[in-house]
Amino acid sequence: MTLSPEESINKQGQVKVLVADGHWLFAKNTVTLLSSDPRIVSVGIAKNGRECLDMIHQSRPDVILLDIRFPDINGIKLIDQIKIARPEIKIIMMAELDQDGYVAASVKKAAEGLLYKDCSIREMIQAILKVAEGSNYYSPSSSIFPNMKIDFDDLHIPAKPVEILKKILNPEEKEIMGLLIKGLQNKEIASALGLSVRTVNEKVNIILLKFGVNTRLEAVLSWAHIKD
């Protein structure tokens, strides 16, 4: 689906965006959502890597919203090819899940930005404009895992003074901690407390953050110190 060249010429000063995504419905809705902002114009949708490479010549987009996975090629590899063909084009990676590693990968591949697919349209527009201006935009990770290296041989338990740990947790978190220390799985805790697994997940993550530890075991061991 290509827009006519006249149209793109007519609206000078607008940011031309190419949506490269194999998932047609998602791509179409992205275009629809983007159309609400007059500063941005969609120049087309590429359903696979080949189409994407064709369209960067035809439509001359300023920014590509690049999905990470196509039927014919890996999105990461496609970055290289796009950069070789048209180095001036800015690329925003679209990751499905906010998992660790994607940001690092896009930085390494010199993609200008990274968004998660479920980000708000506001964030997306902001990111496109920011990238078009020449800066980078990496979506702040909602990741449950802090991106830091773990040194397994150098663990300090408890990570924080006992007095602080005692005051850190609210009653709900203390209850969860009590179950954690019994060795229960998140699913079991979820059904015990009548919460969704995701909620338990998040709460455990918060506990780890509060304790300043990276792993469940460290948290449990720290809590065991408090009990003593």
Binding site: I68, D100, Y102, A105, F145, F152, R198, R216
Partner: protein, 781 residues
């Protein structure tokens, strides 16, 4: 006619009747034993047999016979026709130079001495017939035995009549001549078909000559008997010539057969007959036939004794026809010649001793032959008695020691039942009573085999000495040798077969009794058997090894196959189980959330966005959507983590470790070597590596009490090495194979197959309280 059995019975009866009648008649008539010759109408004594009544009455060679029974000798029939003086009762004679005649009255002394002197030849005659008959009786369908029967029949009759004719019994002389001159014809016929058929020109010619001579003799005898001619001496000479021709052609036939190749049984048969013929006929030819033909009289010669040797002829023929397996003729010949020469030497010594002790005053040929004869008789008798006694002893077990041959035979039987090589040799050594044995077998394929027992067992020096000898004295023929005294072994038997060359050494006897030449034969046999057994065993051993190997291989394949079947079945179960689990997760999680979500949307649709709690509902829906996303991403992650495809192995493994540490109570340390974060491999390799680490970590968390897992990922060259180790309880590594297939490590079993299919390998090392280490190596090019 000759095929009818009755003919043979009839001929036998005739023989017996004639034999008995003439024998009885012989005893009734005195034997005068004078041969006369006519000279100027006067009769002179030419031969005076010392056993005859004439000699005993004082008639000597050269005496003139004046009157027989009161009549002129010329009128006396026997004298006129045959020149023999027999059947007379009174004889008047005078010595040369004397004019007064003396009168001698012939009496018949029927005493033991007469009987003794007459019996041997009759027995010889019966001997001929008996062996002819028994041979025919045992092998009646052979042409040879039928011919033999008739030949022996004729020889037997001729022998019987020779005594009767000497007494001038009716027809005796004529019958003797007839049978005697017909016998050579049969002799030639017989030896032209036995031991090999040999119908050549000489045999045909000889047969014709003897037949012609036989007819001539027959005619002359008839004419002589009727008184038309007086050619008694000529007829006698002709008959002897005929016999000589027969014997010579027979011997010639036999010597042809003797030149046959070694493996033909006829060669040995011919050898034995020839030996019999030589022993039988040679004395008679030398001392009777030739002197008679050439008018050379040997005085006082015991022709009866000489004739006894002829008995060896029917005996040897009987022996070889009736028996299938014979003695070696060369050995027999050797033995006889040895005894013969021993006899000659001993008889000289004996004679000299007799002369010195003055028992004998003069040494003459006759005395020497007497001495020789008695020596031979002594030797033969001694030999026979020795055999008889040793047989008796053996029969009644008087000999405590087992006989050597017997032991060898027993050993030979036992050998086939002994299965251990060493035991064969030990048994041999023990049975032979020797101090050791050493065997070398050299084979181009299987190499050199050495076995030693007894004194050689730990004696490398002696082994070396014998081995050196073996290399210098290899031989194809299996022939035992007695080694010189300074050798550690006594007997050496070389042997070559099936591209192996063997040497067998036998040590000395404990008894210090040397092996005899005669025993070598058996030792050789034994050695052959021994070598054969050892070779067979060697081959069997190799075959056993091969079979073992094949067996093991096939067992391995079988168990592997069985394992694969198990795995296939288990995989199917696992797949279904996972599908069920997935369906459960989807219906419990995302489906429920989407149902709830749908409910809220319907509520919104109905109430409109204007409702007071719209914001709350929307926020609720967002929560639900977040749940939905979370649930789906979890399922997706479990099915196939997208990060693995998107970013590669290392980011995926890092995420995996963090997730596990977040959800489980454990530490995981991850070490990387020679590999960067964005290093990509083939999809298959990445997935297998990821699954291996995932499975390894999860197994360790579930089944070991270890709270720490150590992961190492190392890329060295073209191999990716992945290690998961813990310090937990571990398990018995021997049980592993089973567990991989059926037990808790089933997933690892499948992974193992998968890794091996990719050309890698999976090693599991574990022990009770030693922790577990899983190590997978994958080729990455």
């Amino acid at each position: 006619m000759f095929n009818n059995r009755n003919t043979y019975y009839l001929a036998s009866i005739i023989f017996i009747v004639l034999g008995l009648i003439y024998f009885a008649a012989c005893l009734q008539h005195p034997y005068i034993g004078l041969d006369l010759e006519k000279n100027d109408d006067q009769w002179f004594v030419m031969v005076s047999d010392p056993h005859g009544e004439g000699y005993r009455s004082g008639i000597e060679v050269g005496d003139q016979i004046l009157k027989i029974n009161g009549e002129d000798p010329g009128n006396y029939n026997v004298v006129r026709k045959w020149g023999q003086l027999e059947g007379a009762s009174t004889i008047e004679f005078c010595r040369p130079g004397e004019s007064i005649g003396q009168k001698a009255t012939i009496q018949n002394h029927l005493n033991f001495l007469t009987l003794l002197s007459e019996t041997p030849l009759v027995i010889l005659g019966f001997f001929f017939w008996y062996f002819g008959y028994i041979t025919w009786f045992k092998r009646p369908f052979l042409e040879q035995t039928r011919t033999l029967f008739w030949m022996n029949w004729l020889f037997g009759l001729a022998t019987i009549f020779s005594r009767s004719s000497a007494r001038w019994l009716p027809l005796a002389k004529e019958l003797e001549l007839t049978f005697f001159s017909l016998a050579p014809v049969f002799l030639i016929v017989f030896f032209s078909i036995f031991p090999v058929k040999n119908q050549n020109r000489i045999n045909g010619f000889g047969r014709k000559i003897t037949i012609v001579l036989f007819i001539v003799i027959l005619i002359l005898t008839a004419l002589n008997s009727l008184g038309f001619v007086q050619l008694a001496i000529t007829i006698k000479k002709l008959a002897l010539c005929n016999m000589l021709i027969g014997i010579l052609i027979s011997v010639w036939n036999l010597s042809l057969a003797i030149r046959l190749p070694k493996d033909r049984p006829e060669k040995n048969e011919a050898g034995i007959i020839l030996l019999g013929m030589v022993i039988g006929f040679l004395p008679s030819v030398l001392f009777v036939a030739i002197p008679t033909i050439f008018n050379f009289q040997l005085q006082y010669f015991y022709t009866q004794i000489i004739f006894m040797f002829v008995a060896t002829v029917p005996l040897s023929l009987y022996y070889i026809i009736v028996n299938k397996y014979l003695h070696d003729s060369r050995r027999l010949c050797e033995t006889i010649i040895t005894y013969f020469f021993a006899g000659i030497i001993f008889s000289f010594v004996l004679l000299y001793v007799l002369y010195l002790t003055k028992i004998v005053n003069t040494i003459t040929t006759e005395i020497y032959f007497t001495s020789f004869f008695f020596t031979m008789l002594f030797i033969v008798c001694f030999h026979l008695i020795r055999i008889a006694i040793s047989k008796i002893w053996r029969k009644y077990g008087l000999l405590q020691k087992q006989h050597f041959k017997h032991r060898i035979v027993e050993l030979n039987d036992n050998l086939t039942f002994l299965f251990a090589e060493d035991r064969i040799l030990e048994e041999t050594v023990q049975k032979l009573g020797i101090d050791g044995a050493f065997i070398i077998v050299e084979n181009a394929q299987t190499g050199c085999l050495k076995k030693a027992v007894g004194r050689f067992e730990k004696n490398c020096k002696e082994q070396g000495q014998l081995e050196e000898y073996f290399h210098k004295n290899q031989s194809i023929a299996l022939e035992a040798k007695i080694l010189p005294d300074h050798f550690p072994a006594e007997i050496y038997v070389p042997f070559t077969s099936h591209n192996s060359s063997c040497g067998i050494f036998f040590g000395h006897r404990y008894s210090r009794v040397k092996f005899e030449q005669g025993e070598l034969y058996f030792v050789t046999l034994l050695a052959g058997q021994l070598a054969y057994q050892l070779l067979t065993m060697q081959i069997m051993e190799e075959l056993t090894k091969e079979i073992d190997f094949l067996n093991r291989n096939s067992w391995n394949w079988q168990s592997r196959n069985l394992g694969l079947q198990e795995i296939t079945y288990a995989m199917f179960r696992k797949l279904e189980q996972e599908r069920k689990q997935l369906a459960g997760e989807i219906s419990d999680g995302p489906l429920q959330v989407s149902l709830d979500l749908n409910r809220w949307l319907k509520y919104l649709e109905k109430e409109g966005l204007s409702g007071s709690n719209t914001l709350q509902v929307v926020s609720q829906m967002r929560e639900l959507t977040e749940d939905l996303k979370y649930e789906l991403s979890m399922i997706l992650n479990e099915l196939r983590p997208p990060i693995l495809d998107d970013l590669g192995l290392i980011p995926a493994v890092e995420l995996l470790c963090k997730e596990i540490m977040f959800k489980e109570l454990t530490f995981i340390s991850l070490e990387k070597k020679g590999i960067s974060r964005d290093q990509r491999f083939k999809e298959e390799v990445e997935l297998t590596a990821y699954r291996f680490l995932q499975k390894g970590i999860m197994n360790s968390i579930k089944y070991s009490s270890s709270k720490k897992q150590r992961i190492q990922i190392e890329l060295s060259g073209v191999r990716l090495e992945l290690t998961v180790s813990d310090s937990g309880g571990g398990f018995d590594a021997e049980q592993l194979e089973n567990w991989l297939i059926t037990g808790v490590h089933f997933g690892l079993g499948i992974l193992k197959e998968h890794i091996e299919r990719l050309g890698g390998e999976l090693l599991i090392s574990s022990g009770i309280q030693q922790g577990t280490t899983l190590k997978a190596t994958l080729p990455v090019n």
